[in-house]
C-alpha cells in the first residue's frame, strides 16, 4: 500500500459522521462604498486618486512618478505598454520602477484589488517586482465585501489570481511598520469615474 492509499484509508476510517455544509449567506446588493474603499486602502498603506474617464491617464501617471525610469503597463492605450515585443522574461524586470495595471474588481471592506493572470498579461511577477504599483479601476467596480467579490469571480478559470491590498509591508522588526518589504513600496489606485 503506498502512502496515498494509506493516508486515504486512515482518513476515511478516522473522519466523523458527516456534518452538513452551512448555507452561504446572501450577498449584499449594491456597490461598495468609495469612501470606505479609500479609507481601508489608506489603512493598509495605499492611496487613491480620482480621475475623470476622459483624463489623459498616461500624463497623470507620469506626473505622479517623474523619477521613474523604467515603466511597464498592461493597459494598451498607455505608453510603455506590453503591446509589441511579447512578454519579457520575468527576471529581466528586476530594475522595473513602475508597473501599471487595470482591473475590474475591488473590495471596499479591506481596500484590496483583484488581479488575475489576465490583468498581468501573463507576467505574474509584474505587480510584485516593480518598486511602485499603479492600478486603474472604475468606480463601479467596487463591491462591499469579500463575499460579493467571490460571487463576482464565480468559477473564472484563472491560472493565477491575487488580492492586493496596498504596498508590500512588514512589521517584523519590533512591530514597526515598514513599507516595501519585497514587493512594491507604494501602491496607488486611480479611480475613474465621470465626475
Amino acid at each position: 500500500m503506498n502512502s496515498r492509499e494509506k493516508i486515504l484509508q486512515q482518513v476515511g476510517q478516522a473522519q466523523p459522521p458527516l456534518v452538513p455544509l452551512p448555507d452561504t449567506p446572501a450577498a449584499q446588493t449594491g456597490k461598495g462604498s468609495i469612501e470606505e474603499f479609500e479609507k481601508m486602502l489608506q489603512a493598509v498603506g495605499g492611496r487613491m486618486l480620482l480621475a475623470d474617464r476622459n483624463e489623459d491617464l498616461g500624463k497623470k501617471i507620469a506626473s505622479l512618478f517623474p523619477q521613474a525610469k523604467r515603466k511597464l503597463s498592461t493597459i494598451l492605450s498607455l505608453p510603455d505598454s506590453l503591446g509589441e515585443g511579447g512578454i519579457p522574461d520575468p527576471h529581466s524586470l528586476e530594475d522595473l520602477d513602475l508597473a501599471i495595471l487595470s482591473t475590474s474588481l475591488a473590495v471596499a471592506e479591506n481596500g484590496a484589488v483583484w488581479i488575475t493572470q489576465q490583468e498581468t498579461a501573463g507576467l505574474r511577477v509584474l505587480p510584485f517586482i516593480a518598486i511602485h504599483l499603479v492600478v486603474v479601476l472604475d468606480a463601479n467596480d467596487i463591491v462591499p465585501t469579500m463575499l460579493e467579490a467571490y460571487e463576482q469571480i464565480g468559477s473564472d478559470n484563472y491560472p493565477f489570481g491575487v488580492f492586493i491590498a496596498g504596498p508590500s509591508k512588514t512589521a517584523d522588526i519590533e512591530q514597526s511598520l515598514v513599507l516595501g518589504a519585497h514587493g512594491p513600496k507604494s501602491m496607488t489606485v486611480i479611480l475613474q469615474s465621470s465626475s
Binding site: I7, V11, A165, D172, G183
Partner: protein, 463 residues
Amino acid sequence: MLAKGDKHAELADIFNRDEKRVEWHDETLWWIRQKRDKAAWSLGENWEQLREQASQIKSHTLSRLAGYLQDFEASAIANGATVHWAANAEEHNEIVRSILAKHSISQIVKSKSMLTEECHLNDFLMANGIDVIDTDLGERIVQLAGEAPSHIVLPCIHWKKEEIGELFHKHLATPEGNADPSLLTQAARVHLRDKFLTRRGAITGVNFAIAETGELVVCTNEGNADMGAHLSDVHIACMGIEKLIPRRKDLAVFLRLLARSATGQPVTTYSSHFRRPQPGQELHIILVDNGRSRQLAKEDFRSSLKCIRCGACFNTCPVYRRSGGHSYHTAVAGPIGSILSPNLDMKDYADLPFASTLCGSCSNVCPVKIDIHEQLYKWRQVLTREGHSPASKTVAMKAMAFTLSKPGFFSLAGAWARRLMRWLPVMVKNKRNPWYKQRDMPEAPRQSFTEWYRKNRSTPKTN
C-alpha cells in the same frame, strides 16, 4: 510542582530571568491582541457569524476529508500540477529533496510554512547539500541567528531592533549600531531580492487549498511567496491535509477572519491563488499527514485540525506572553500547539497542556471556534492516564485526593499544617516550595472555619 522533565516550566524560568524583557514581550503581544479586537469589533455582529460559519465549514470538511482530498487531487492534476502524498515528515522531506535533485537545484528560497518547520525540512535539506534561504523577514532573522521561529505569524517577536541591527551588521554589513527598522528592512530587501532573482526552486506553504478547483491560496504581507514562486522553475507547495476547504467561495469567510485574527489587518497584503503552473514551470503539491489522521480519529481532539494558524491564541495567552514561544520546544507553540503536539509525541510534549491556567481566552479568540482550553484539560487526563505525568505530580495528586476524600483526616491534616506553619514557618517558606517563589505565604489562621463555626454559630447538637 516543578518536577524534573517539566520542560516548559524550566524553559519559562530561563525566559523569566529578564523581567523587563518579559514585560516588553507581554505588552507587545497584548497590543497585537488589541488590534485584533478593534478589527473584529469593526464588523459588529458579523464577526460572530463569520466565526460560526468558518467553524461549520471546517467541521464539515473534516467529516468528508477523504473525499475532498481526492477531489482536490483530481482538480490539481487536471490543472497541470503534480500531487504527492507523504505519510510523515521523513517522506515529506525526501519528496522535496528528490524533486529538487531531479532538476539539479541546490539553492532554494522558502516562504513561511509551519509544516516545513514541523518536518525539520531546512536541516534535512542542508544536510543533503541544498541551501535554503527563508525569505519572510522574521524567518530570515531567526535563520541568520540559528534559532527556530517563536511565533507562527511573528517569527522574531522575541527580538529587539538593536539585536536585529547587530545581527544584520554581522551578516548583511549594515552600519554598526544602526537599529532603524526602515534601513534594516531595506538591507534585507536588497539581500533577498538577489536570491529571488537567482534561485530556480521555491517552496511555499499553503494557507488554504480548494477541493473544488485544485487551487492553493498563500497569504503574505511581504510578497515573498510570490517573488519566489513566480521567478522559479519549480514551485513546491507543502501542506497539511487539514488545510482543505470545499469551495472557492468559502475563501470569503476565511480571508475575512484570518488577518483580522492574526494582526488586526483587514486582509494580508497578498492573497495569492495558485491554480496552474506558469508555462515552463512545474508546480508540485505535497499533501502531508504526519499524525493528522491519527488526531482526526480522536473525538475529543479532532476539532484542533480546524486551525487556520492565525496565532490569535498565542497573542492572548497569558502563559505564552510571559514565557515565549521557545519555552514550548515545538514548531507550533502556544495554546493550539499544546493540543496538537502531544498527538505527535505524547512523551516529548506531555508538559505542554499543563502550561496553561485554563483561562479560556484562547477559545474566545479562535476564529474557527476550537474549544482549546477544554482540550488542554482533556489532554491532561489522557497524559496522566498514559503515565506521562511527572512522578512527583502523580504522588502529590494522589495525596491530595486521599486527603480531600476523608473528612477526618482532612481536619487532622489541616490542624497540623496550621500548627507547623505557625511554629516552624521555614517548613513552607523555603526554596523547595513552588508557591513561595514569587509570593508571600499567608499567615496561618489560629483555627479552621469549622472550629470557628462550632464555637460561634452552631447550637450544641450531636456533632
